[in-house]
């Protein structure tokens, strides 16, 4: 956890997930499917996957979209200076207690205004190789997630971080097949998306 990339602060939290707000110019770092973590205090962190990035509009933005000839200064003003609400929705997938990673929901949610950090490759490898990919069940329990896309985005990032010739990726896909064996249509959708990973 040597590299600390702050991607926002928490707005609303629960044990199953949380929503963070960030500035538009912080939006370069977080990506759909990325692993993030928030502190819980006393050596504890909650880990989650970004499953939605939402940029809300407001009255001024609605007026500007209909205007002709909006200059760069006005665009940058809205993106960098105004409080344009960018919300990152995160699904909790595990936590760390005293240096041990558990693919279980955290004992309590983080607090509002806590900082949300983007995990670096080392964190990602550490989290995904701990245990036996038990955190996949958190992804599968919700009907509202874009499951195929989220699983694929996450596996693609983790595969790139592992640099093990695809061993982890194969293991992850086998686990997904095993967990979704009773949901043929869902599984086909996930496998279809996974086939996009080079």
């Amino acid at each position: 956890m040597d590299e600390q990339i702050e991607v926002g602060r928490l707005l609303r939290t629960a044990t199953t997930g949380f929503v963070a707000g960030c500035r538009v110019n912080q939006l370069v770092a977080p990506a759909f499917g990325a692993l993030v973590r928030a502190p819980l205090g006393a050596g504890c962190h909650v880990y989650g996957l970004i499953h939605d990035i939402h940029i809300a509009d407001d009255g001024l933005v609605r007026q500007l979209v209909t205007a002709e000839g909006v200059s760069d200064e006005v665009l940058l003003d809205n993106r960098e200076r105004r409080i344009v609400p960018v919300e990152l929705s995160v699904l909790a997938v595990g936590h760390e207690q005293d240096g041990q990673i558990l693919h279980l929901l955290p004992p309590r949610p983080p607090l509002s205004l806590d900082v949300l950090f983007l995990c670096n490759e080392r964190d990602l490898v550490r989290f995904t190789s701990s245990g036996r990919l038990g955190y996949f069940r958190h992804l599968l329990r919700s009907d509202e997630l874009p499951l195929a896309e989220l699983v694929t985005a996450h596996i693609r990032m983790a595969h790139a971080a592992h640099r093990d010739g695809g061993r982890w990726k194969e293991q992850a896909i086998q686990e997904i097949i095993s967990l979704m064996r009773d949901d043929h249509a869902g599984l086909m959708s996930v496998l279809g998306a996974l086939s996009e990973i080079p």
Partner: protein, 390 residues
């Protein structure tokens, strides 16, 4: 308890019955005003002479427009490019102390937005917040500051931040404030000395901005004044009628906004007028307040604003043209509800919302408690209000 709907219903019926007659009377007054404007348009010199005579004689406080040199029934265009301008807009908001709350405090929040057109860079934003607490909250006569007192402090702070930013941003060409250029509120201030002090400081600031060659303007959105209409009324008045000018309003109900919505095509400005008012004695020489109307709307949908400028700006046609073009471009950004974008941003930045006020109050209460001061409870009236609002 809700409003008495029976009474409202009766009043609405009366409005509905009366409105037809009023509309006809207003239409007649509007037609008359437009005819008078067109008939007097070429008589710039006699119009000016008549207002001067009234201001010197029967009513020195008369408030009306005074033609300068341009024909008053024409629209004027500007084609000048707005690239390469540095614009500064300022606005402010305030929290007035409320003795019913646990903590007695006030706030002045002013913001400046500095935008360099054509630079491709995000504007700079500067915010100055002043917490008023303890002795700061009392006016010169030892009474708790009124809304007018706080508004005067806010106005003075707005002018100060404008001057400071104009001095710190070399090459600033246009400085915009929301509302009239005149400092208002003399009658709402508990301590007349405080108003005089703020006015002196403001006039000194204006002189400095003149020396910097800055184009200073106050933008009055949806103006309600009848300055030009009053000029027409004065022009028509006989010598006897002029003695009772305050009660003479043959064109009552006609606004300058309506008048120029009939004259100005989209994007055009009116002639520049000088302002005759009580404050003319204070805003002298290069600082004398002038104004023009501008149609920032589109074809068939006139939206008339008044733009106040000091004489040093009115005398430089290049500055007036640059200001005119800039205002059109800024208003165009907000589409069907035109208003200068940069002024809206200054307003948005300066505004202290209720949530923010509550947070500041909570932090103040925490600080007071940490310092061993137990704040007074809110008044029963305030608590009861909160209960009924929730």
């Amino acid at each position: 308890m809700p409003a008495n709907l029976e009474q409202i219903y009766a009043a609405l019926q009366a409005v509905s019955k009366g409105v037809k007659g009023q509309t006809a009377a207003l239409k007649a007054a509007q037609d008359s005003a437009l005819g008078l404007l067109r008939a007097s348009a070429a008589r710039t010199e006699p119009l000016r002479a008549k207002v001067e005579a009234v201001a010197r004689g029967s009513d020195p406080n008369v408030r009306c427009a005074v033609p300068v040199s341009e024909q008053i029934d024409l629209g004027y265009q500007s084609e000048i490019s707005t690239e390469g301008q540095t614009l500064i807009a300022v606005d402010g908001s305030q929290v007035t102390p409320d003795r019913h709350e646990e903590a007695l405090f006030g706030l002045i929040n002013v913001a400046a937005v500095i935008m360099r057109t054509g630079s491709g860079r995000a504007p700079d934003i500067v915010v100055d917040t002043t917490l008023l607490f303890g002795q700061d909250l009392y006016a010169g006569d030892a009474s708790l500051m009124s809304e007018g007192d706080i508004a005067l402090l806010r106005d003075a702070a707005e002018r100060r931040i404008l001057l400071r930013q104009a001095r710190g941003n070399h090459g600033t060409s246009i400085a915009l404030a929301d509302g009239p250029l005149e400092l208002w509120g003399a009658k709402d201030v508990s301590d007349p000395g405080a108003f005089e002090k703020a006015l002196d400081e403001y006039l000194e600031g204006l002189r400095l901005m003149e020396s910097m060659g800055l184009t200073v303007a106050g933008y009055v959105d949806k103006p309600g004044a009848d300055l030009v209409v009053r000029l027409l009324e004065i022009d028509q008045a006989s010598a006897d009628e002029l003695k009772m000018l305050r009660s003479l309003h043959p064109l009552r109900g006609v606004s300058d906004r309506w008048l120029y919505s009939q004259i100005l095509s989209a994007g055009e400005r009116s002639a520049i007028f000088a302002m005759q008012s009580k404050s003319r004695a204070r805003y002298t020489d290069a600082l004398a307040i002038h104004f023009f109307y501008v149609n920032v709307g589109s074809e068939g949908h006139a939206v008339i604003a008044r733009v106040e400028i000091p004489r040093w700006v009115a005398n430089r046609s290049a500055s007036v043209e640059a200001l005119h073009s800039t205002l059109l471009e800024q208003c165009n950004l907000l589409g069907a509800r035109p208003y200068p974008y940069i002024l809206h941003r200054a307003h948005e930045t300066a505004k202290i919302g209720l949530d923010e006020k509550e947070q500041i109050k909570l932090k103040l209460l925490l600080e007071l408690r940490a310092a061993g001061v137990e704040p007074e409870p809110p008044s029963g009236k305030s608590s009861a209000k909160q209960v009924s609002e929730n």
